[in-house]
Amino acid sequence: MGRAATITRRALLVGAAAVAGGVAFGYYAYRKPVANPLEDELAEGEATFNPYVKIGRDGAVTIVAPRAEMGQGVETTLAALVAEELDLRLDQVTVEHGPASAAYGNIAALADGLPFAQFDDSALAEAARAGAGVAGKLLGLQITGGSSSIIDAFDKMRAAGASARETLKLAAARRWGVAAADLATADGAVSHAASGRTATYGELAAEAAALEPARDVALRPREAWKLLGKPQQRTDMRAKVTGAPIFGIDVSLPDMVYATVRMNPHLGRPMRSMKADAALAMPGVLKVVPIATHVGNGFAVVARTTWHALRAADAVEAEWETGSGPADDAALWALFEQAAGSAGSAMRNDGDVEVAFADAPQESLLEAEYRVPWLAHACMEPMNATAWLRDGMLDVWAPNQAPTMVRDTCAAAAGIDAASCTVHTTHLGGGFGRRAEIDCALYATLVAMQTDGRPVKVTWSREEDIGHDMYRPAALARVRARVGEDGMPVAVDLKVATPSIMASLLPRFYPRLAAIGPDKMMLDGAFNQPYAVPDYRVAAVKVQTPVPVGIWRSVGNSVNGFFHECLMDEIAHLGGLDPVEMRLKLMADWPVAAGVVRKAAEMAGWGMPAPEGHARGFAFTASFGSWVAEVVEISQAPEGIRLEKVSIAADVGIALDPRIIEAQLFSGAIFGLSAAMGQQINFADGKVVQSNFDDFDAMRMPQCPRFEVAVLENAPKMGGVGEIGTPPAAPALANAVFALTGRRVRRLPLSEEVAFA
């Protein structure tokens, strides 16, 4: 069969699989199929059925899990989606990330970016979600983020497995002259009970791949699931307990050289000049290369080992262009204060808060200001990428969350077309949003253009990482509330002044993109919470600062969850109500929310007196389609406040792997607690002050509380899991600090005002 014919047939299958997956849109460009990228990389004897499955002649099955494995267990659950329908055990398959391709566009990530609450089922919201699907397909954005991977894949990848299974049965039916309906599949083989014949998938693969693939295969009902819904042994666990070289930083290629970068600490500003003679004279140093990009500017040292490069980089004297904008915390915060003075644009505006506040008696009112700082991601694996440019072909190995973006950016930098650039997505030693950026891969590509065809691995120092992040933006909130006779809130007004992440991020991806409209991320976690208050306004004001900001685990929810849930606690206190009871009343219309609130309260022993010297705090945040309540219990020790226990109840609609979800929930909470207790990024002289884990630390083993986690499944839709544990953690802790000490700390990190053990 000729190449063109093959592609057409494959293309048909992708279209069919998409339809079977329930994502058909009456829109020509959307329906136009995307080629199966696996066609180009089949090994001898291997057959592919769709972008998610390859079967070798020997029966080896490879499942492509096209999302970045950065700890969240996504490759295991993605593989289980296909394996479930393909009747395979997870230990029978190999999982790989696969190539960068539009075939793996993430529709759910885009849908979550729309300005609707997750419980908004209005026709407008649904139409917009469908539209995001079309847009996602057209852009072909292969992104791991927004806790969307499994939601996006749930139908698609099961449909891919089901289609492959039925096609294998068709091949067996033909071979044996029997009806496909009389065939069964199990453990990687097709069998015919009446005749006792069996054939492995491997034996049938080549014949099956030549057939018109089965379409519209019904997906198995939940009752029939063997893998999904049950804890699986993670497919990446053995590699991770044996120290296998699976990370970007472990890439090793023949004749490879090593490099590190030093970029202008005045973020984004140019390098005026550099003197590299001393560095070049050092042992092991091969080259010093200037780097100029739209993201950052500086130089790279290329050397025999990473250490030679790191050492020599200290010896390069660079003269940096400084910024003209605000240079330190005080000047930056002045921008926030100024912005907070203007009205802002509301994303929620129920009733009329202005009227409600106009005649409010003083004792029914509360007014306060909250602040959260900039934060670095500090992924455990320092930033790195490896690039190899030879004969007009570029290969980039990068631990990254956006391979199609990396491919397009690097290809453009190297002056080749995207088809000549191959992106290899390695395992990620943490991502948290940092690795959705293209800077590391871009710099590595520019260095590879100067290494005469030798591959180069570019590893950043930790100092470079902390000082050149795209930070979680700082934010300032002005909050007001009025309580009624019964103590319940009758008016809530929350205004957030913060930089727009989208406005900072999109020009890094698309340097020529014009300004964008409203950015829902600025108010995520505040405008879309399931509370009914008669007069309720949530508004945002954009702050312009020179600090690049980006996606940080749970994005706007990490900021606004803190503001909103501390405000709720303050309201309950003013109204003389129990914070849990008050929330339950406000949430009466949202039983799923009330369900997790009750569950977390019950696990924590809420309502029963805490042990002597202990206190508890409560918070709730709906995010990424899931519903999460957390209770933090703390105690006063001589050395400071100790975290005792965290109770988490999360409703995720459908829990595909409860053990992985449990891990994500406490992981997310620890991430949020680490930040709340002690993390901040400060600026002085136009540069970031912090530099390494000695001044930007995170929770350590002795500080880690006990966790109790409950995963519920009452929500009507499946929600995300990778980020949802983070938003309620900080406010629950701050509310506990208030309960313990009587101090209302309205500024993170809490360590600015109270000591932790």
Binding site: R234, M237, W307, M380, R462, S667, C704
Partner: protein
Amino acid sequence: MQVTVNGKTLDLDVEPDMPLLWALRDVAGIRGPKFGCGIGACGACTVILDGAPVRSCSISVGDVAGEVTTIEGVASDGGLHPVQQAWLDEQVAQCGYCQAGQIMSAIALLNDIPDPSDEDIDNAMSGNLCRCGTYPRIRAAIHRAARMQAGA
């Protein structure tokens, strides 16, 4: 420079002031020990030197006198060390990047204190940072490994 790693004596063409971490990773191709901070603050690079956990980023090859064990050298014949098995059973790792260092610290701890208390674990593991927050399962896995080794 000569160093003995996982029972083999390696002859490495490096300067004596090169940190052991980089000699292992970039010269010897032993990539289990990870680079995390370079200043002894994260534990990702932990190896065992004569029985004690050591941050390989903060010791020069020239100063290494004894036997170095890395994660690659803790198990025999492609099997798993009991601590690795406990890690697998408790499904500890998330991104996994810190885990080689965590496991090396845990092995050193258990060699020292076969049945550690929670406080012993706090003390021995506080130098190993995990940004994914796997601590609850690390604690459970250390207790499990202690039970496994006691039963064996």
